[in-house]
């Protein structure tokens, strides 16, 4: 039976605590008697027979939906959309959940004699998936059956001929959708719900939409009013998507939603990375030797080689649940399973929140974690992994550990380079950035061209990354980055520190000398249930 997550009160006998630090690690001693560490739950048991579970879910849907086989018939137009490269994190070992689910769906479609089938990577404004990434996600059989005929495509949010406007929400939000998906007799959406933010109407209303739709909820106001965007019932981001879902329900295609949850087995229970998933006082002599060797070995390598090693890691995630049917009913069941893995009860807020940021976030798979993504991972994702209240009090301090290199992937993140060099050089104020710069980046023809024909994120994407941290920026009194590139950290508007001790000293200017400290031991992923 896996142990649940828990909160450790740090005393003098507590061993040094592991901080992820990009493609490296730090061991840090936290101040005794005023610090605590939140540990994630151990990985939940995997479904013993995942393929059978998928089949059962498709044949026994939840909510107001007939079983999938009853929705399939010869002569129909079927579209299967699926989550893109940003999920799961890190990418999982083969077979990917998407492959398992899509093979099961296609097998039923084959049984019904469906000819007209297309598969779409629902990537919104993310970069297109490469053939090898698609092959990894869908498996050789699906890829070889559809890609050569042009029936497996990446969604293109900048192709006016391939988009259709479905209507407008009560709040005046335009709902635009991929034409093939919108004009299908049935749209099957295959989700990987890594965190509670994923899934629901966000899958179709965001994944298959365009900038015209996305700008209604990917903005500073929405993100500041999402407290947090990981808590669907208190997230303005989700409220907007749910409103769009109503329009899709009334004017769009019939949707059969499939959502899957996975355990947080990120580093495995065996092998060189397994130590990263253990609690520090349980490290054996072998763990300590392997950790030291790994850390020292990584220090000897170039940044590119370190990145190559980490990006090649495929996590042994396993599926813990699968449910299918009507979008909202499915998503409520999914949330229960996600929370069962991630939620850790925490009492009270803290003055200083510390976090070690790992090498990966949703937008740098097989790529480089540039400074904007560091900000987005820390202030966007990690800060928002709470339910109830933020872990850190209003006006508190956030200390993040990451090398924050002044480095960008020129193919994947071209607009990030200009955002960092031009926009952040002028201002870091999110409102001003949104007002003055967003439109020109979003409508820039060169970025459009790169998004559509190369493997670049959309021109507006770095803005969204900045907005992702809006709630944290509005909430925090100071942000300090330990061990980061000093110039890059300052460009972000944060304060650099060489060591955690220095950072705590700097934080004391804001929150006093006896401030409480809380460290989130993430990854593996956890979500604080703060009361």
């Amino acid at each position: 039976m896996p142990r649940p997550g828990f909160v450790l009160d740090v005393d003098r006998s507590t061993p040094p605590i592991l901080f992820h630090h990009g493609e490296g690690f730090r061991l840090e001693r936290l101040p005794a008697d005023r610090s605590r560490v939140i540990y994630p739950a151990e990985p939940l048991p995997a479904l013993r027979h995942p393929d059978e579970a998928i089949r059962q879910a498709l044949c026994n849907p939840v909510g107001d939906s007939p079983p999938l086989p009853e929705l399939l018939r010869a002569g129909m137009k079927l579209t299967i959309a699926f989550d893109d490269i940003s999920l799961p994190l890190p990418p999982m070992q083969r077979p990917d959940i998407r492959q398992r689910v899509i093979e099961a769906v296609l097998d039923m479609a084959a049984e019904a004699g469906v000819d007209d089938v297309e598969l779409i990577a629902a990537l919104a404004l993310h970069r297109r998936m490469t053939p090898s990434e698609l092959r990894h996600a869908l498996g050789d059989r699906v890829y070889d059956a559809f890609a050569p005929h042009g029936l497996l495509t990446n969604h293109d949010a900048e192709d006016p001929d391939n988009l259709v406007e479905l209507g407008t929400t009560d709040a005046g939000e335009v709902v635009e959708m991929n034409r093939r998906a919108a004009e299908s007799d049935l749209l099957v959406y295959v989700n990987i719900n890594l965190v509670s933010m994923d899934g629901g109407w966000k899958s179709t209303a965001t994944g298959l939409s365009s900038y015209r739709s996305l700008r209604h909820h990917h903005n500073v106001r929405t993100m500041e009013h999402s407290t947090s965007f990981m808590d669907r019932h208190r997230s303005e981001l989700h409220h907007s998507n749910w409103r769009m879902g109503e329009v899709i329900r009334s004017s769009g295609p019939r949707i059969f939603q499939i959502e899957t949850t996975m355990n947080n087995n990120v580093f495995g229970t065996e092998g060189p990375m397994a130590v990263l998933q253990k609690r520090e006082w349980e490290w054996t002599a072998r763990d300590r030797v392997s950790f030291t060797a790994m850390r020292k070995g990584l220090e000897q390598l170039s940044a590119a080689n370190r990145r190559r090693i980490f990006q090649n890691w495929k996590a042994p995630h396993a599926m813990t649940s699968v449910q299918a049917g009507e979008v909202e009913a499915v998503h409520e069941v999914t949330l229960e399973h996600t929370y069962a893995q991630h939620l850790v009860p925490v009492e009270g807020q803290t003055d200083i929140l510390t976090m070690g940021l790992p090498y990966i976030c949703p937008y740098n798979v097989n790529s480089i974690m540039n400074p904007i993504l560091v900000m987005c991972l820390g202030l966007g994702y990690f800060f928002n992994l709470y339910r109830g209240k933020p872990l850190v009090r209003k006006g508190g301090v956030l200390i993040m550990s990451h090398p924050t290199p002044w480095e960008f992937h020129p193919v994947h993140h071209p607009s990030y380079i200009d955002f960092f060099e031009q926009v952040l050089a002028e201002t870091t104020d999110r409102h001003e950035i949104e007002q003055r710069f967003e439109k020109s980046f979003a409508e820039d023809e060169w970025y459009r061209h790169l998004y559509r024909t190369s493997y670049a994120y959309h021109g507006v994407h770095p803005f969204y990354m900045w907005y992702w941290g809006s709630h944290a920026l509005a909430h925090l009194g100071r942000i300090i980055v330990v061990g980061g590139d000093v110039r890059a950290v300052r460009r972000l508007g944060f304060q650099p520190a060489s060591t955690l001790t220095d950072a705590l000293e700097m934080a004391s200017d804001v929150v006093g000398r006896d401030a409480t400290v809380t460290h989130v031991h993430n990854p593996p992923i956890l979500m604080a249930d703060v009361t």
């Binding site: 027979h49 296609l106 084959a110 049984e111 004699g113 498996g139 059989r141 699906v142 070889d144 059956a145």
Partner: protein
Amino acid sequence: MSGRHGAERNRLPVNGRALATTAKAVAPAMMARAKQSVRAALPDGLAPPTMPGGIEPPPSRRSVGIDYDTDWARTYPARLARVVLLEGMVRPGVTALARPTVRGLDRLDDLDGPAIFAANHHSHLDTPLLGTTIPDPWRHRLVIGAAADYFFGNRLTAPLSALVVGAIPIERQKVSRRSADEAAALIDDGWSFLIFPEGGRSPDGWGQPFRGGAAYLSLRCEVPVVPIHIEGTGRILRKGRSLPKPSPTTITFGTPLHPRTDEDSRRFASRLEREVAALADESRTDWYEARRRAHAGATPPLQGPEVGAWRRTWDLGDRSPRRKRRARWPEL
């Protein structure tokens, strides 16, 4: 000069068949004389006893064929030797000859414990090819059902078959409880089993009907059967040919099959054959096409079309990846 005349000119001035007949006739006498010499050379007590006159000698126990004892080939030293032979000699040879493309291994991800691997059979190369392709952990605890009359027919091939590929003798001329008992005992002991349910290599490039052995063992031992389709080994070393010709091959692993509650071994064998046929279809076309045909009951059978012999051969010819698709006459 034609090839035939050339071959005749190079033939040795020895009649091989006459030589073999003579050797067969004189061998027992020579063996008896050798035994006599040994007996004479040894002191009493050590020399093997002679048979008294008037006593009927007990029937000699056969030590080859179906009676060959292969227990020694599953001891640790023998397994170690097999790994060395497979990895050091067999794998490079197979890779050079067959250049295998392996598909569908992910279908075995949820497979736990021993299994029966059942494949179509075109060539002697199938066994070493699968012996090096079936993944861990099954590969190193794998026994192979091999024809007792062919592979265990004499004292040279029997130990070689047992050692190199981990074969056990299977009676294929008649139904044998002994073969089944031995295979079942090994499966119960945690060994996986590779079997070619067609019972022999394809005589014409098309498949043959599946026999019930694999299905029977699966029902008896309650282990799944993994269908496998091998494509291309017939081009390398088909039945009747003695020299191999390199050519690419494709091995497609299918989803492990469990017998259904209402299935006997005959019906299960027929489902297994359909699954292998569907894998054949998948390797020729694509997965979705193959699934559609499988569900519609329109998967092309392994045995090929029921037409005249020349048309079967004609249909077979286009499968070679090296051979370009020729326009059929008449082109309409």
